[in-house]
Symmetry: C2
Subunit: 139 residues, 2 copies
């Protein structure tokens, strides 16, 4: 399975074409974006700041994808996570999974999101107000 | 909930921005594309031709979305289905669901795909070979 992992300080482009070699064999593409909302724990915010322990986060993401893909027909997974300041309305994470049939793609996608927060060292370091000032540690 | 349904003979654009009013409140966007594969029931094909009973398909899609959204926090769903000839590698269907939290979006998305084939009058009318000639009724 083709696994791509990227931690990036830049906005995540929404349209990402699949690798050419999947044309004709991929029958299902499932995607998820986690978007920063204007309310966090009842507070109005302007952005969240994410930090990561990259040397551990990237291999852990790969390992989780490999484990979840075992036995299924997934062909491709791409995980892109923002680090640094992510404004309200922007995607903090984008996951794309391609498989022959949709069940495997949905299973990997939902399973991955369940494990991300618990197992991968990427975290919300703090919340910023609409002027970009830190307002408090993120919940 | 904002529900948009489109049956179209044209290729489905991949990047579709959410309605502006969801910025700040949507926390999860889940998407699915069903792609035409080069193998259908063991045969090599070049395209599938879809037909729909549109007058019934569109209201049925809306009804399924409304039923599946009941009790969840979904804010937006867009269902785009191709009709006519769809080539290998192109999306026959694209579904986008936005919600505050991801569980509702995943539930609506996967539930909708389960009900689509069984309840909505859109069907594969026939398979075409790579020269565009009908090769047989689609399975």
């Amino acid at each position: 399975m083709d696994i791509r992992v990227e931690l990036t300080p830049h906005p995540i482009p929404l349209a990402r074409p699949l690798p050419k070699e999947l044309t004709g064999t991929a029958g299902a593409i499932a995607e998820f974006q986690g978007i920063v909302r204007a309310q966090e724990a009842g507070r109005e915010i302007g952005a969240l700041e994410y930090e990561a322990y990259s040397a551990m986060a990237e291999p852990m993401i790969r390992r989780i994808c490999q484990e979840l893909a075992a036995g299924g027909d997934c062909q491709f997974v791409s995980v892109t996570h923002r680090i640094g300041v992510v404004s309200v309305g922007e995607a903090a994470i984008h996951v794309v999974v391609a498989s022959r049939h949709r069940a495997a793609a949905f299973a990997l996608l939902t399973g991955f999101m369940d494990r991300l927060k618990q197992d991968v060292p990427i975290w919300k370091a703090r919340a910023l107000d609409t002027a970009g000032r830190p307002i408090a540690p993120a919940p």
